[in-house]
């Protein structure tokens, strides 16, 4: 590996790293405020300036040259850094005593570090009005214009809702002579601008701008003046709302004098490595009753009598393991329709789960069968990051519904708004563009319209039609690409297909995201076989998005069966005749979820989960739970573990678990961006023996007007009942559609089909374009939706 010398210390670097990244990876400190790892450098604070062979450069945007000498602490650099901090301190309100950031403020730290002890500059101050968006409150007087919020909103979240805007403030250039160039540019940037919310549509529940703010300028409105930063205890855990399994940092403070009763004041994240969504950050207000339930005999009895046990998608590994053991002794059946479909899919095609960094290194990403933003925000963030930072990366987003939030992330997003049920055909188109040899493509290729010969140009190089005038064909085909009737029917027209093909062909590495809607697709088996055939391609990495939080863990531990609607049934963290779940007590002590036996919520238990990367991650308790949990129930079935955590190392090794004890599960990212969270599940890729069937054309594409999907940052009972989240359970539609129907937000409407109904309040989702009702699955208790896409009648309720 090539190396450079930083202050006399040899530091190795790899291709593509900047000086700052190389230094951080090696543990060499170069100060920086505006830097966010993995994002495009802002160069706002200029604190990271260093001298490479005597020449001044910024470490955050300079690639090192091998064998050069870098100095970070020359007298001139130290003096200029101190001056930068002095300019940041000009007119900074002296309210550290009351400021929420005091104690963890980077401005305080850096001011101390650079030994600022006097203020040579002074300037008249301006009145700067507060601003508010989503859960954030912005005080421009405290802002130092490092623009970390702007950077993360654009490069990590993909919304670009924030911008550094010019403000008409009193900003004399009188220090131009007395200040060196760099401090002056920092000074004038700070003095002449403010952060402004510039989104066309309002933003909800994400709070990443709050997390990255180094000073107290952007704060979480509900945390203001509630606690002091130094009083908070940090507990790293894992989010159990979706399959991303993000690293959460519960910030708790005691609620009684003995420190036994804790309260979560806010949730932070490691924003350098893992942006989190609003559900992770704000849906912390619910927990299970600390005392739990006492009717354990009844719960045991119900489990023993049960014919069917329904499992929730957010069951922990240990609970799933114990349920499976109980199933083997008691003979009940385990059900969960979504997970069952996923398990069946994995039986045919189960790739080794890839890391998110493999997704970020792809130059073309194909997405099929998932409304990414709603189902797995972390994947959306990763895509936003790769689209913004690696120019030339493209995203082909195939879904029956447009998603404006995805489309506006970058110009290199190609939306493919295909017909309902056409996922198999679209996958066929992808495979054809990739040049995969598959029997499934025969019918697709045969549907070519333009050329009378069945030779569909270069896309079918490998197909067995090499005879005839094959040599003369390609030129002709280039002039006029073939039109495939099947694709036309699936609403993926010829120009779109050619565009996809062009992007896919020039991409050296490709990622294919397969969403949960594929597993329940009627042609799921054939799709799995097609993917199996495609997975032989070296440059293609296939990501299967699990349908719920711990789906991967549950399906590798449990044997699920098709729902037989047998009775009596028990629901473990889901619905059933007898329900074992968290009772979701809110911060006022109100029970939000009536259950028969209380289980701890996932901020109260020691357990583990498996995320979409196939990592076994630890859930750490932030809040106390003294009651009985699933381990106590298991004791009645002949298991002697006192706590769930005792089963972590007993998770079966033949299913890929490594037998690592709960306490040995690490949970952090290192400075060099390496992932030290848990361990990776050892999975054995399945080998399908059969080959795929030709794709069947869709008969008639029904016009959809309803879609079964949660709003963004809504995933389960926990998030629905959370009072902190701004987006609620309901029926969402586009603004234009709402107006055309003559409704206002908050009106209750009823959707119905064949006598079955669903009622809910209507809200606007700005990412929807068409006249579609997007209904939260939790509302659909009557079974209105047989598939995710339906055509329903609506009326005012």
């Amino acid at each position: 590996m090539p190396s450079i010398e930083i202050d006399g210390q040899k530091v190795e670097f790899s291709e593509g790293q900047t000086i700052l990244e190389a230094a951080r990876s090696a543990g060499v400190y170069i100060p920086a405020i505006c830097y966010l790892s993995g994002c495009s450098p802002t160069v706002a604070c200029k604190m990271c300036m260093v001298e490479v062979e005597g020449k001044r450069v910024y470490a955050c945007n300079t690639k090192p040259k091998a064998n050069t000498k870098v100095a970070t602490k020359t007298a001139a650099l130290v003096a200029e850094r101190q001056m930068i901090m002095q300019t940041y301190d000009v007119n900074h309100p002296l309210e550290c005593g009351v400021c929420d950031k005091s104690g963890e403020c980077e401005l305080q730290d850096m001011t101390h570090r650079t030994l600022v002890d006097r203020q040579p500059f002074s300037v008249r101050d301006n009145l700067k009005p507060f601003a508010f968006w989503a859960q954030a409150s912005y005080d421009p007087n405290l802002c130092i214009m490092c623009e970390r919020c702007v950077t993360t909103c654009s490069d990590n979240i993909g919304d670009s809702n924030l911008k550094a805007s010019k403000a008409s403030l009193h900003a004399p250039d009188k220090f131009k002579e007395s200040m060196p160039k760099d401090p002056f540019s920092v000074w004038s940037r700070k003095q002449k601008g403010m952060i402004a919310f510039v989104g066309d549509t309002p933003c909800y529940d994400c709070g990443e701008c709050i997390a990255v703010c180094p000073v107290g300028a952007i704060v979480y409105k509900d945390f203001s003046y509630k606690a002091n930063a130094w009083e908070l205890k940090h507990i790293d855990s894992t989010c159990m709302h979706c399959a991303a399994g993000c690293l959460l940092d519960y910030q708790v403070r005691h609620f009684d004098t003995l420190g036994e009763e804790q309260k979560i004041f806010r949730v932070g994240n490691d924003f350098y490595h893992n942006p989190i969504c609003g559900a992770g950050r704000f849906a912390f207000d619910l927990k299970a009753s600390t005392k739990g339930s006492s009717n354990i005999e009844q719960a045991v009895q119900k489990l023993k009598e049960a014919k069917a046990v329904y499992v929730g998608g957010d069951l922990s590994n240990e609970e799933a393991y114990l349920l499976e053991q109980m199933r083997q002794t008691c003979g009940f059946k385990l059900h969960n329709s979504k997970l069952y479909a996923y398990q069946e899919f994995l039986k045919t095609f189960s790739p080794t789960p890839h890391d998110l960094k493999d997704l970020k290194s792809s130059s073309c990403v194909l997405s099929l069968g998932s409304r990414l933003k709603n189902e797995n925000p972390l994947l959306k963030y990763a895509l936003a990051n790769v689209l913004k930072v690696n120019k030339g990366t493209s995203l082909i987003y195939a879904h029956p519904l447009e998603d404006m939030a995805i489309e506006k992330m970058s110009r290199s997003v190609v939306p493919v708004c295909h017909a309902v049920g056409a996922e198999e055909i679209i996958l066929g188109a992808f495979l054809m563009a990739l040049g995969v040899e598959s029997p499934s493509l025969e019918s697709l290729k045969a549907s070519a319209l333009v050329e009378p010969e069945p030779e569909p140009a270069e896309s079918a190089e490998g197909a067995e039609n090499a005879e005839g005038e094959a040599t003369a064909e390609p030129k002709k085909a280039e002039q006029k690409p073939p039109v495939y009737a099947m694709l036309e029917n699936a609403k993926c027209d010829s120009p779109t297909f050619e565009k996809i093909k062009g992007l896919v062909e020039k991409a050296p590495s490709i990622a294919l995201l397969i969403g949960p809607e594929i597993y329940t697709h009627p042609k799921a088996h054939n799709i799995a076989l097609m993917l199996q055939e495609a997975s032989k391609l070296d440059k293609l990495k296939i990501f299967l998005i699990p349908p719920s939080a711990n789906a991967l863990g549950i399906v590798s531990l449990c044997t699920l069966e098709k729902d037989s609607h047998a009775s009596p049934s028990v629901g473990v963290r889901t619905k059933g005749d007898f329900v074992l779940d968290s009772d979701c007590v809110d911060q006022n002590g109100q029970v939000q979820n009536q259950v028969d036996f209380i289980l701890p919520s996932f901020s109260q238990m020691e357990a583990s989960m498996v995320n979409l990367e196939g990592r076994v991650l630890a859930l750490r308790p932030a809040l106390a739970y003294e009651g009985l949990d699933f381990a106590d129930i298991a004791q009645h079935f002949g298991f002697y573990g006192e706590t769930l955590a005792e089963y972590t190392q007993e998770l079966p090794q033949d299913k890929g678990f490594l037998g690592v004890a709960y306490d040995d599960l690490t949970n952090f990212y290192a400075n060099d961006k390496s992932n030290h969270r848990g361990y990776k599940l050892q999975s054995t890729p399945s080998q399908a023996t059969e080959s795929s069937q030709p794709i069947t054309p869709i008969e008639s594409a029904p016009e959809l007007n309803a879609y079964l999907q949660f709003a963004e940052t809504q995933f389960n009972t926990h998030t629905i009942k959370s009072q902190n989240l701004q987006l609620k359970e309901g029926i969402y539609t586009s603004k234009a559609h709402l107006e055309s129907l003559g409704l206002v937000e908050g009106t209750t409407i009823r959707l119905s089909k064949e006598g079955r109904t669903l009622t809910g309040k209507i809200y606007i989702d700005h990412s929807l374009k068409r006249g579609v009702f997007m209904a939260s699955p939790s509302l659909d208790t009557g079974g209105v939706f047989a598939s995710p896409f339906e055509t329903l009648e609506w009326e005012r309720a």
């Binding site: 309210e95 550290c96 005593g97 005091s102 104690g103 004098t257 420190g259």
Partner: protein
């Protein structure tokens, strides 16, 4: 109807000019200077802060004290946590543990003085008179750690042992010079006759401010 006009006689100089001349060359200047010279030699009404400070009322609420028991010098705080609960600006934090002798001991007691609004509710609620409002109103420091640690608030153990411990007089406490500062009380009418002579003499000694106050009441 007709408008009224003011007749300016061009032969007479304007009154403004006369005014200017009068103030410039008259004795007014010396009147002003005279007042300055008089004040220069009169009794001082200001104090030389920070070398001098004004006496504070016993009700004054500044940085808290954590009091000790007399004789033994043990901490009075029993760790009930009421001060933390009542605090309106959420600036108190108390962490305790129960030791083997079943008594609570205080591990950490902090007040974020930056956020404290000195409302005194913590002192009012304290069942042991352990936390009281003190008189230290000067809070500048260059160290963040010097704001609000337990060691800062605890009173000197020696003062508890030798009974020089300053007790908090409480919220209803009259100020030390209340008698002298009160010009008139509701019972004045009863004592007025016998005290008439000395009272007037006293009032004369008082500053102008008190006199005015007395007049207002009358």
């Amino acid at each position: 109807m007709g408008q009224k006009y003011k007749w300016l006689d061009p032969k007479k100089p304007s009154p403004k000019l006369l005014d200017t001349l009068k103030t410039s060359f008259g004795l007014e200047l010396f009147k002003g200077l005279g007042l300055t010279i008089k004040e220069f030699f009169s009794k001082e009404v200001t104090i030389h802060y920070p070398m001098e400070v004004l006496p504070l009322s016993p009700r004054y609420r500044a940085v808290h004290h954590l009091q000790r028991l007399l004789e033994s010098g043990n901490e009075r705080c029993i760790g009930c946590g009421l001060c933390e609960k009542i605090c309106t600006s959420n600036c108190i934090r108390i962490i305790t543990h129960k030791a083997e002798d079943e008594r609570k001991y205080i591990d950490s007691y902090t007040i974020n003085l930056g956020r404290c609004i000195y409302c005194g509710l913590c002192a009012e609620v304290c069942p042991e008179l352990a936390i009281v409002m003190g008189q230290r109103f000067e809070n500048s420091s260059v160290q963040r750690s010097q704001f609000g640690g337990k060691a800062e608030f605890l009173t000197d153990i020696q003062s508890a042992k030798d009974h020089s411990h300053q007790e908090f007089m409480g919220f209803g406490a009259p100020s030390v010079d209340a008698n002298t500062r009160l010009a008139q009380t509701p019972l004045d009418y009863a004592t007025k006759e016998e005290k008439e002579e000395p009272k007037e003499a006293k009032e004369a000694k008082e500053g102008a401010e008190n006199k005015e106050g007395g007049k207002d009441h009358a």
